[in-house]
């Protein structure tokens, strides 16, 4: 076991346990906090697996951007108590547990029967410069399509988030109340 192997296994256990904690939390804010830990650990895994640029992007986009967006929306929406009816317990947990355990068991059988090639995690293999050259020379069309996708997502989010025309503006209601 080299130093990087130990780091890999420690980080993997941190990622798995924080994800397990996140998906079992009742409070969505706690879940988001644990997910941020999980994404930080994933960034360390990306770095160990030779993708330093993706590690940085993981921290910036996932842990920094998307999770902050989640926290904003949690603050904007009104959380209600979950309904006391527990009828959905069996109808949803049983298929989930069956499918999940089947998937994990199959993966375990396939994976541990033949462990494949052994990789030695280096500190850095693909530098951001090489990555950028490959990205913008071989995949420039995909980059353009991805930028259009982001533009469409921004327009869609603005359209969905705008105040409806038929909603009475709050100022008028306040004026009416005052009068």
């Amino acid at each position: 076991m080299t130093f990087f192997d130990i780091i890999f296994y420690i980080t993997a256990s941190v990622v798995v346990s924080s994800t397990a904690l996140a998906i079992t939390r009742k409070n969505a804010v706690h879940a988001v906090c644990f997910i941020v830990i999980s994404f930080m650990g994933t960034a360390i895994l990306f770095y160990l697996l030779g993708a330093p640029l993706l590690a940085a992007l993981e921290v910036i986009i996932y842990a920094g951007g998307i999770m902050v967006l989640f926290v904003f929306v949690i603050m904007m929406t009104k959380m209600e108590k979950p309904p006391v009816v527990k009828s959905s317990l069996s109808s949803q947990w049983i298929p989930a547990v069956i499918l999940g355990s089947t998937c994990i068991i199959m993966a375990g059988i396939l994976v541990f029967s033949d462990s494949g090639k052994w990789l030695s995690p280096p500190a850095v293999t693909g530098t951001p410069k090489d990555f950028g050259i490959v990205l913008f020379q071989d995949y420039w069309l995909a980059v353009e399509i991805a930028s259009f996708l982001l533009l469409m997502a921004m327009i869609g989010a603005l359209y969905l988030g705008r105040r409806k025309a038929y909603d009475p503006p709050e100022e008028k209601i306040q004026e009416k109340n005052v009068i």
């Binding site: 996140a22 697996l49 993708a51 998937c103 293999t125 990205l135």
Partner: protein
């Protein structure tokens, strides 16, 4: 000594199943979206591990596009959640039964 490729794939599978279970069992829309995020992240780990296994950049490029798609999806989905919460006053997926024929 080093790490078998299989262990990385098993880690990715474990995370993916966790995300799928979260998306299947939770009733809160925000928790469902968090499950989807976990699944996309697990696929990213698998792609980067494959990229290292074959010493190619394709896996890393794919992970970058997965991240882009995840960001776009989350932006639209959270706007939809705010919109639908404004209309129905709830973010519980069981409450959305306006389309019962």
């Amino acid at each position: 000594m080093s790490i078998p490729f299989a262990h990385m794939l098993f880690l990715a599978t474990l995370l993916f199943v966790m995300g799928a279970v979260c998306a299947m069992t939770r009733r809160n829309l925000i928790m469902i979206l968090i499950g989807v995020e976990i699944m996309l992240n697990a696929s990213g780990i698998a792609f980067v591990a494959g990229s290292m296994r074959w010493q190619e950049f394709q896996g890393q490029v794919m992970t970058l596009f997965v991240m882009t798609a995840a960001a776009a999806e989350i932006a639209v989905a959270l706007a939809l959640i705010v919109c639908v919460q404004r209309r129905t006053g709830s973010i519980n997926a069981n409450r959305y039964n306006l389309l019962k024929g």
